[in-house]
Amino acid sequence: MTKIFETPLYPYRRSADQDMLRPVRHPVVVIGAGPVGLAAAIDLACRDVPVVVLDDNDKVSFGSRAICFSKRTLEILDRLGCGERAVDKGVTWNLGRVFFDEREVFSFNLLPEEGHKRPAFINLQQYYLEQYLVERAREVAAQGKPLDLRGRNRVEAVGDHGDHVRLEIETPEGPYNIEADWLIACDGATSPMRRMMGLDFVGRVFEDNFLIADVVMEAEFPTERWFWFDPPFNRGQSALLHKQPDNVWRIDLQLGWDIDKEREKRPENVIPRIKQMLGEDAKFELEWVSIYTFQCRRMENFRHGRVLFAGDAAHQVSPFGARGANSGIQDTDNLCWKLALVLDGKAPESLIDSYNWERVYGADENILNSTRSTEFITPKSETSRAFRDAVLDLAEENAFARPLVNSGRLSVPCTYDEGPLNGPDATGLPARTRPGSAAADAPIGDGWLLDRLGEGFTLMAIDADIPDGVEDGGIAATPLRLSATDNPELAARYLGDASGAVYLMRPDQHIAARWTGFDDTAVAAALRRAAGRQ
């Protein structure tokens, strides 16, 4: 059977740009059709911003790589029009079990709070996510949106010309050049763009190797995340077992630092390891095997003039916590509406600097969390191992020790506290929906709050009076009037002790400002600030 990741999904086709005497100028060019580049392209095209995506390949990610996609990613995919497919195919899970040596020390439930459209997490092979994004990109283009995805177009060189960038592209039919007003580099962890521009990528490499194997098997294991510290089948190391769709199971085995990667990757060495874990009689087939050394690092700046970096190109984390692709998709969620406003002449170019501020903040939070997890999983000294093992020994009997067990803190969106676009907060309203946070979902009638937020700014009133439209400098906030009567979730998440509230929501569903009642001048000022016009 041909695997999806072996099929060309966006084969090379000659573009009219290749026959022009002078390089054609495009408003936005995206390099890389990984999950991040594709999400950016769909977002921009849906905002009627013409976008060209260049990828040196024509297939989805080889092997599954990312498997855990967070609630926030699913909400963003909903906005982009392919959340449903991901959730339908994905495996929803809530329960995680942690084992130490031969015993289960505790289990945790990600406690999916009631009243959200999307679960805390789904597991889905990265190639499926990319396939759905490619198909959605096609669909958007077929509906007349300006999206042009070019396979086997490898960017060989870039020239920064201040107000635009020139790109030299290599194709199966030879080279051609184009220009871009704005360039978004989503070209992955080894980002050739970063290298071509001579930019740094500072951080640390963890001296450890992990064998990542996806195996196909009919197994009785439940749909749970199982994590082992120091199990009998992988002494002194850790292991993970997690289910994906199509009876594919993800196995991570920590191998240590001094190993021969090529040797360890060979099936004759991988299969016995997996048999030690699953039992001699386990029947399985290897779908994909790879060995990784994990790193946590980021660029100092995600913006360099008209070149913007997003996803793994801008920051890299170890996979514990599933923060790679999830945070990359949040990058584009943050960036695209800002770029659309700037290109539309409604916001100053400096609005793009808030992308740098907010997503560097997000990257630092992710790096902090994933560094802490890595240190717990891979203790770096005898003392840190003694404490790690002490935590695990205590966890079984003592509830207090369980929050200290760190097998990965799973991705949640960050709150841009003190962010440059945040407007005023009002006392008495719940902390979780303070300015800077991603809007919490809640049931509204037969549907969901997040589905009611539009592509632009929304002025949401809960049991408060607002006028029909608020506008500032050509940017409007669409009114959304709701009542929290008989809606305890909405009340708990947005009102707290207040009897009514007014929220200004950004196009990326983050909260810009909030009040306990409407005030024309205050809302207009917050709108101005959120659009970087102040």
Binding site: E382, T383, A386, D389, A390, N398, A401
Partner: protein, 68 residues
């Protein structure tokens, strides 16, 4: 805000000290280190107050002249 109490606070100090030594009796260095780690975690949780814990950590580091 609570301060780290560094004044005498343990009644019958000698018997406490003896008990602390006794629980390590017959243990290897590795076992003792593990026990100490568990003990620190249990006590830290009992204290709970983050500021007191930070004060205790730096007081412990300072005493051996290894403050960073």
């Amino acid at each position: 805000m609570a301060d780290l109490n560094t004044r005498p606070n343990i009644s019958d100090a000698d018997s406490f000290y003896a008990e602390l030594m006794a629980v390590h009796d017959g243990l290897t260095k590795t076992q003792s280190d593990a026990l100490n780690a568990r003990l620190i975690l249990l006590l830290a949780n009992h204290v709970g107050d983050r500021e007191v814990l930070s004060a205790a950590l730096s007081a412990a580091a300072r005493a051996a002249g290894v403050e960073r």
